[in-house]
Symmetry: C2
Amino acid sequence: MQGFVKVTFQPVGQSVYVPAGETVLEAALEGGLELHSPCGGHGTCGGCRVIFASTAPEPTPEDSRHLSTDEIADGVRLACRARLACDSVINIPESTLRKDSKFLLHGITRALRLSPSVTKVSLEVKQATLDDQRADADMLAEGLGADGRQVSISHAALASLPRALRAEGHRVTAVIDSLQVISVEPGDTSGALYAVAFDIGTTTVVGMLLDLNTGAEVAVSARTNPQVSYGDDVVSRISYAGNGGVGKLHQAVTACVNEIIEDLAAQAGIATTSIYQAVLCGNTTMSHLLLGVDPSFVAQSPYVAAVRAAVRTTSTAAGISINPAGSVVVLPNVAGFIGGDTVGVMLAADFAHSDRLRLAVDIGTNGEIVIGSRERLLCASAAAGPAFEGARIRHGMRAASGAIEAVGAQDGRLVISTINGQAAVGLCGTGLIDAVATLLDAGLLEPTGRLISQEEASGVSDDFRRRLQTNSTGPLFILADPEFDGAARQVVLSQRDIRELQLAKGAIQAAIRILLAEYGVSAGDLDEVLLAGAFGNYISRESALRIGLLPDVPVGRITQIGNAAGTGSKLVALEREMLEEAERLSLHARYLELAGRADFQSIFAESMMFP
Amino acid sequence: MQGFVKVTFQPVGQSVYVPAGETVLEAALEGGLELHSPCGGHGTCGGCRVIFASTAPEPTPEDSRHLSTDEIADGVRLACRARLACDSVINIPESTLRKDSKFLLHGITRALRLSPSVTKVSLEVKQATLDDQRADADMLAEGLGADGRQVSISHAALASLPRALRAEGHRVTAVIDSLQVISVEPGDTSGALYAVAFDIGTTTVVGMLLDLNTGAEVAVSARTNPQVSYGDDVVSRISYAGNGGVGKLHQAVTACVNEIIEDLAAQAGIATTSIYQAVLCGNTTMSHLLLGVDPSFVAQSPYVAAVRAAVRTTSTAAGISINPAGSVVVLPNVAGFIGGDTVGVMLAADFAHSDRLRLAVDIGTNGEIVIGSRERLLCASAAAGPAFEGARIRHGMRAASGAIEAVGAQDGRLVISTINGQAAVGLCGTGLIDAVATLLDAGLLEPTGRLISQEEASGVSDDFRRRLQTNSTGPLFILADPEFDGAARQVVLSQRDIRELQLAKGAIQAAIRILLAEYGVSAGDLDEVLLAGAFGNYISRESALRIGLLPDVPVGRITQIGNAAGTGSKLVALEREMLEEAERLSLHARYLELAGRADFQSIFAESMMFP
């Protein structure tokens, strides 16, 4: 046994690479999952049962001692004894997962105490007699108050209470959110307690279904934000909203959220009424539209939001199709162009407690940048535009099958790789950055962004030189061609594409430079640079450094943290104190308005240059 | 000047009888209205201006000093100087009414501090700049927090906030209910702040419109509860509800409430959106149906309600058409057959603070009786049936034009009076009680309730004797006849009618007797008997005593307090602490279940007898 194996834990959906030969217990710990192992992993208690969905290793003597023959045949093993020999998929039963678990986030772990604001209490309610004729609600409150809880009962819960109480002999499950009984269900339904967490992007909406009894993410689903038909970027959405379109934009995004919820529930085989909370974040405009609040004034000086604070409302008022008694929480914003998604990133990356000086960059249609530590936080927004998402690029496309996602050079020849290994059909954002970095390294691109001509390309390999061409729109570089490398079609990088990239990276770089200067530090002082967002997660860190998108730090200090905004929503759903922490972060982070700065244009112009 | 004059104060709608010659200031005080008179009524400050709608008295020298000639011509006078010579109608301007006023309730006054839970604050909200880009909601919260208030802002208020702020240059009015901003209106709308208070009777629904800036009742409207088409009494409504009819009954009563609200708003010339709270009370079944809560189990042993406590919900959830951001409060119940209407009576009559031993009787289709003082409260419910409302009585009718409302004897002849003096067409509840009392006095009715025959009627006047007749259904007494007294039709009181009355008064009397015994007192110990409800207000106290409906106390100890249940709702709308007091009363009053008592049938049978 040598090398690394990939282990995927279900239903959490967490994958981790570990050296072959490690035990499942050790691998789980590296994946942020603490398993129930009272004996400390010595094979004596039999508490850490897991189930191999892929081929299970040979049973150990301890397995034979603690497990039945049927269990062993079904792939059940003790996690502390089972050693991983190959890529494996392992189911962790609820009973094996420790509830005080950690939450893995692509390189960042933060402690999580599973304590959602919505809980269920199953109880048998005392029955009235002629000597004790107290009302149903009073009897329920007494039962729930046995452990000192003082709860009120909502109007909706009261309406169903008499029948619910008597359906299964006064055994009911009370659903409690923030000290109020929001629903009473007949029998014991405490096993079915779910929340959904969302990241509402300008372009993409991602939803996750969370089992609040285990903290596990049991399903994920994403859709294109249907608001794109009203404009690609935030500013065009705001403009549409300002012309009476708030209602339409609100309906579009809630319809999308509801479709995702349907899909999540179907994936997990649960009813949407078993979902009692939806936690959502998005940029300020998305948050406003989600709540049906007009964001018009975000786009007009002095660029103010209608609402900064977190909003707590009902699923009915928000039009979100979970349990009708459910609650909806929208993460707080910082300012007009720094929204709840950035607060989600700060929450996920634990900016409230970290002493280290960190810079977090969330690259999307809009780029949001945060710098600081628990002492002080500064943030700014950069209008990168959609170039990183493949828009306004001649052969640009979303990150889909056949997109060139990586570009490099080997022995003087251009090397490309495409998503799913399909014949190249276009260029996505990561490929775009790689391509520019490669051209810079090859000396075909000047620091100003000018592509040199074939004639100027002396000392350049043949393969690279032949790809330098000029057509009616100007110079271009051929990335793929049916003639050169059997591609499905010709994919080029034009001079104009490079200018688009310069605008996008210039906006981000300028914002980072201004933030560093305002913070009074230089790039070298940064302990870590966090790259958030789907795009940030797939980007080549080296290429990002090469083109100057990121400040000049050693590549080892750059960490890709995935959809951290969505993770922020998850944290709020899983631990009720997180909303307060989000609120504090939203007040603590100071927003720097770049539009108001005299020096912005010159710094932006400089930042368009390549290093 | 001698005798009494009747003064009606507007817009409060309060009438009071005072000795002629009293000043308006004195009369207002007797009516529970404290006027603004900083100088103490010496005519020196000019603060107590009132406007005579009827003929004004001659102006005094102080009037001439403080008022313009035009004002004097318009009927303005100083209340401390103007003496009442005749029946008068007087308008009290808002500026003259002291807000810490008392509330008159047909003979009962209780202190009221005008402090509704819903208030309005008009303010100019600070505008953002590039140096202070705080969100609209944060700026509003800061403005509202200037006096130490910490408020949250509802989702609905946020949705309209950006436009509302900018409609009139950042001058807005915040509507605040229970520390939450529920609505933000452009400009200064603080003058338009209303609530509605309701008494939801099994038969009649009464609504009152309250101006929360003055505490004045500005309109009243009543309708028949449309639920009557699903059954006359509470038990038949419950039965209909139990067969899946909750929704229909809920819709029927809310539709009725909404019609009344429309009417109240039209009367006062205001928009229904200026009404921000609805406070309602009713018996337990009515309260349940109003909220859409199934009352079925109230009618099955052990007769428990779904909810005892007060319910606070939104106008939208309750389906009540006031401002969509408004709140709805339903008064707490005591038990399955003692509801929020009785709590309203206890609140209005100030049972929480009174040291005196009092008995309150609210006679409706169901009778509710409360005995006690602040030390101890006991209550019971008596199923009187609809006889007092004219139902199940041969010529019975509601208290409407042409109903015989009073019956007596003068010089050996029967004397009747009808509502509006119209020719007699039927007999209403008050007339029924008077008729029976008159027959008892005349010796035509035996204590058992047996009507004697014409033959047995020796020593009885000719007029009475000729009215004693017998037809196929048995003996009867003719109250009105075209032949005898030119009535429009014959109206009789039959032996069967008398039996119906005996059942109704027997139920009430039995409940009172049991309550007195449980409380360990006798009728003579009662300091006061309060008669609540529309019927109780019009009944002849002497006749009620004569037939034994009320315990044997001197007539002077009986006070008629009108629609005290509705007054309870009004108190809760006008003073926010009242809801807590209602809640305490609802917990403090002990309910005595008569159905569970072994001695009930025998006491009931005895109580059917006449004294």
